[in-house]
């Protein structure tokens, strides 16, 4: 700690020594001359970077005299790198016109492996969400977008990549989610609370499918979602978003529970600007939803702050904080299928108050061209109070810190090594008073053996101690190879061991909710996995590409919720063996001069509880997602269709015990959404408008038993940028 303080002091002093400097500025446009907002501009071999404002302008001030290269990137356009630019006490204007492309595989940069690399060099299947979709589809939460990603299943708010998870009411996750390099699972239950991430502040989302425990440790057994916040702009930019919508009447008269118009609305204002070496981005938002279901209304207030201070071109300190306070009524299961949008009479009036906050810092220092250091401490504060019959409360916090070194001894080799420490403390009526500690150390080397081939090997050691239980140790290696067969064909394969420690919730939950009693199981063991996948990306033409991946995941001591037949209580138990196999096919095409964009993804899953010789619960065998978008001039029209076959197994025990009448009723999922939008920026109006009709067929389905998914709703989204 003392050494770290000295480093900071030295860096601070060094920044106050007046240096000869200049600046770089300019405007980024598309090939039609329209300004592009949110283009990331990074200065090579430094920690400096900005984003363009609403006019497409950027400025990088106080650059020391020297030569620089700029990299311009934004999803949907070809990444572009400038020539060497010389700064000599002057201002240099660099204007760039980016070319739109669907031919991105060898262009996109991802940071999922804790360093920047080409997407084509990543051995695992990786999907990047174009964040423009959040505005176009009026998404309120990040997880809404995952329902349209091939190979990803959302069961209410619980994410599963390639069938890694069923449904456990948020107790634990098999997908690690990071926001600005900070894992964001809750300290007590280990779940992901998606509302913590402000949708308006997301710059990029990377989804890495398959085990990533070799780099990320526990919880990454099924994959990683890496969320990168927007860069802070150099010039002031203010973003105002107003959204409102209404739910249709239910398609069955019996389901109507209110005469009122049921609506939802949200308001967001955010501002980003830089003051010399200090950059700040902040937002506040409010969200209100009366819901289409009785007793599921909510009101949420959220806040977000990101600040960067560049001590020099080689050192930066950033702070990030996000949080919300929410009161939400509790809908657990329907009363019965004849009252599918109403809870049981006992649940009426119940609600949960929750406050969640994540605070994090990231100190980044580049020692030289070969070596850089990142120190990332964070604190997750969580409080919730279930104002229902169970009267459960939980107050918890999770402190975590990571120290990471990136070393590039030659142009062909990159080594990422680091260590992590975490401590969490929980005071709760449902989990008891618990604490846990964990440490991890990892190292990964990426070696470009020959130009088209990249070899990646990583290994990680983890130690976890959960309360008074026996400690768990695990070593997780991973080997990956990518091969660029030619400019049109890219091959990838990886083999990995994964592991996940049981969470406090899985080991110690003790409560009764809606008649279901959950009991602790302190004898839970950590689960392990062995995964292998192979994939190919092939560009048949610049406008048409195919991606195919096949995978086999073997799970040992797999943790799944189930009922103890001796006492009828729910508990988490180790299923000795499970196997999930499958394949994914994704096709992307553009036609009619790229006015039409078509994406189709199909996923086949074969999941098996090998002991019982039955399918795993809540894993659909077939899933299809398709999207069709037509863009003409300033407006666009889009259609999205998603389908999942009926899940073969659910929590039948809950139905057997009579806790959820008609709980076994379920159907395949078939949802069609439509949208129309206009971007008036090219008409010098700082406005985007999107009108969405979701589930336009008003198709009724469930993702878990006794929970009808959102019925048809219409929403209007207005975004002002100035």
């Amino acid at each position: 700690m003392r050494n770290f303080t000295i480093i900071l002091i030295v860096l601070f002093i060094s920044t106050n020594i007046k240096a000869q400097s200049g600046s770089l500025f300019g405007k980024i446009t598309d090939n039609n001359g329209n300004a592009l907002i949110g283009v990331n501009i990074l200065v090579d071999r430094t920690v400096l970077g900005v984003a363009t404002n609403s006019d497409g302008n950027y400025i990088l001030k106080e650059l020391k005299n020297g030569t620089y290269k700029l990299t311009f990137s934004i999803v949907g356009f070809t990444k572009t790198t400038s020539q060497e630019i010389e700064i000599l006490n002057n201002k240099v204007e660099i204007n760039v016109s980016l070319v739109p492309t669907s031919y991105q595989y060898d262009q996109l940069i991802v940071t999922a492996n804790k360093f920047s690399q080409k997407l084509s060099d990543v051995a695992a299947s990786t999907y990047i969400i174009d964040t423009k979709i959040f505005s176009k589809k009026n998404f309120q939460k990040l997880d809404d977008a995952f329902r349209y990603v091939p190979g990803v299943t959302m069961t209410l708010d619980q994410i599963s990549i390639r069938g890694s998870s069923g449904y456990s009411r948020g107790a634990g996750t098999r997908v690690l989610v990071t926001f600005d390099d900070i894992p964001i699972y809750t300290p007590d239950s280990g779940e992901i609370v998606w509302e913590l991430i402000p949708v308006s502040e997301i710059g990029r989302v990377e989804i890495i499918k398959g085990s990533a425990s070799s780099l990320y440790g526990s919880s990454a057994i099924g994959g990683v979602i890496n969320i990168i916040p927007k860069e802070i702009t150099s010039n002031p930019i203010t973003f105002v978003k107003m959204q409102g919508g209404v739910y249709s009447k239910p398609s069955h008269k019996e389901w109507e529970w209110s005469d009122k118009t049921l609506y939802f609305n949200s308001q967001t204002i955010s501002h980003s600007r830089s003051f010399g070496k200090l950059g700040i981005s902040a937002s506040i938002s409010r969200f209100e939803d009366l819901s289409y279901r009785q007793n599921q209304d909510q009101l949420r207030f959220s806040g977000y702050l990101k600040a960067n201070y560049n001590f020099s071109e080689s050192s930066t300190l950033s702070f990030i904080g996000a949080g919300f306070t929410r009161r939400r009524s509790t809908f657990i299961y329907w009363k019965d299928l004849e009252h599918a949008l109403s809870p049981s009479d006992d649940d009426l009036g119940q609600s949960i108050k929750s406050d969640r906050t994540i605070l994090g810092m990231n100190f980044n220092h580049i020692f030289n061209k070969k070596l850089s250091l990142a120190i990332i401490p964070s604190l997750y504060l969580s409080y919730w109070d279930d104002k229902s019959e169970s009267d459960n409360k939980s107050n918890s916090n999770l402190f975590r810190t990571e120290v990471r070194l990136n070393y590039k001894p030659t142009e062909k080799i990159i080594i990422v090594s680091g260590s992590e420490f975490q401590h969490n403390k929980v005071t709760s009526t449902i989990f008891g008073n618990r604490s846990s500690n964990g440490i991890g150390a990892y190292s990964q080397i990426d070696y470009k053996i020959i130009d088209p081939m990249n070899l990646s090997f990583g290994i990680r050691y983890d130690y976890n101690k959960l309360s008074n239980l026996e400690s768990e140790n695990s070593i997780s290696p991973k080997l990956g190879i990518t091969y660029k067969f030619n400019n049109n064909t890219f091959l990838r394969t990886s083999i990995a061991k994964g592991f996940r420690s049981p969470t406090l919730a899985e080991s110690f939950t003790s409560t009764t909710t809606s008649g279901v009693t959950v009991k602790p199981n302190p004898n839970l063991n950590a689960e392990n996995s062995f995964s292998i996948e192979a994939g190919i990306k092939h560009y048949i033409s610049t406008d048409f590409n195919l991606d195919f991946a096949i995978f086999n995941n073997e799970y040992f001591e797999f943790i799944e919720p189930g009922f103890d037949l001796k006492d009828g209580q729910l508990f988490f138990n180790n299923v000795t063996r499970a196997r999930i196999q499958g394949f994914e096919v994704n096709a992307s095409s553009s036609f009619f001069s790229q006015r039409f964009l078509l994406n189709i993804g199909y996923t086949f899953l074969h999941s098996k509880d090998i002991d019982l010789n039955k399918e795993l619960k809540y894993r659909p065998k077939h899933s299809i997602v398709t999207s069709l978008e037509y863009t003409q001039s300033f407006y666009e029209i889009g259609l999205d269709l998603r389908y999942s076959s009926k899940v073969e197994r659910i929590d039948n025990e809950i139905v057997d015990f009579g806790l959820v009448p008609n709980g076994d009723k379920r159907v395949e999922i078939f949802v069609l959404d439509a949208r129309v939008g206009a971007n008036l920026f090219s008409y010098k109006l700082p406005l985007r408008i999107f009108l969405n009709a979701n589930n336009i067929l008003n198709y009724n389905y469930v993702e878990i038993i006794g929970n009808i998914a959102p019925i048809r709703n219409y929403s209007l989204n207005l975004e002002f940028v100035f």
Binding site: L337, E338, A340, F563, K566, L641, D656, R666
Partner: protein, 190 residues
């Protein structure tokens, strides 16, 4: 042309799909029914006879428990020649949902009140899958359907093999031990 094809596909898709879940589905109760046929003389001391359904196999005495038990018919009148049952009719217990069930049988007891002690029960009829009377049959109840013709024959002179934990436990153990010895001999001869 491409737009037309896409519009036709979209139109057909919209036309072909239904509205998913509806309240009417609540009226369809999955279950099963059939006929029990009795052969031979009834035991005069038997006080109750029921059709019973268990979710998991009866591999030990502990599997004979209330949580594993999913259906118990009303008591069948003694000296009956046959009995028709239906899980949607009135019964002592009915927790039948679409799933696979491992043990369906007709059981008799001599106790006055309904007992959950394995020792109090004797199996007099067992449901078998077609062409396999060597082991208890698996009953599959699909989604949204009722399975008919689940028939069981109870031959009092030739009762089926008893699950563990009953009066005939010693006989069963002897039979298991003998079959294992036979298996070992067979392996040695190979």
């Amino acid at each position: 042309m491409t737009i037309r094809i896409l519009l036709i596909i979209l139109f057909l898709t919209l036309q072909s799909c239904d509205k998913g879940l509806s309240p009417e589905l609540a009226d369809i109760n999955p279950g099963f029914g059939g006929t029990i046929t009795f052969i031979g003389d009834w035991d005069k001391e038997v006080t109750r006879t029921h059709v019973v359904l268990f979710k998991s196999p009866l591999l030990s005495k502990e599997d004979f428990n209330a949580f594993n038990l999913k259906y118990v018919s009303d008591s069948i009148t003694s000296e009956s020649n046959s009995y028709n049952f239906n899980t949607n009719d009135e019964s002592l217990l009915s927790n039948v949902s679409p799933d696979d069930y491992s043990y369906l049988a007709v059981a008799q007891s001599r106790t006055e009140t309904l007992s959950l002690n394995r020792e109090d029960w004797k199996i007099v009829g067992l449901y078998f899958n077609a062409n396999d009377s060597t082991k208890p049959g698996t009953l599959e109840i699909p989604e949204d359907s009722f399975v008919n013709n689940i028939d069981i024959v109870c031959d009092f002179n030739n009762p089926p093999m008893q699950p563990p934990g009953g009066d005939d436990l010693s006989n069963i153990l002897e039979s298991i031990i003998n079959s294992q010895l036979d298996f070992q001999k067979l392996n040695r001869n190979k």
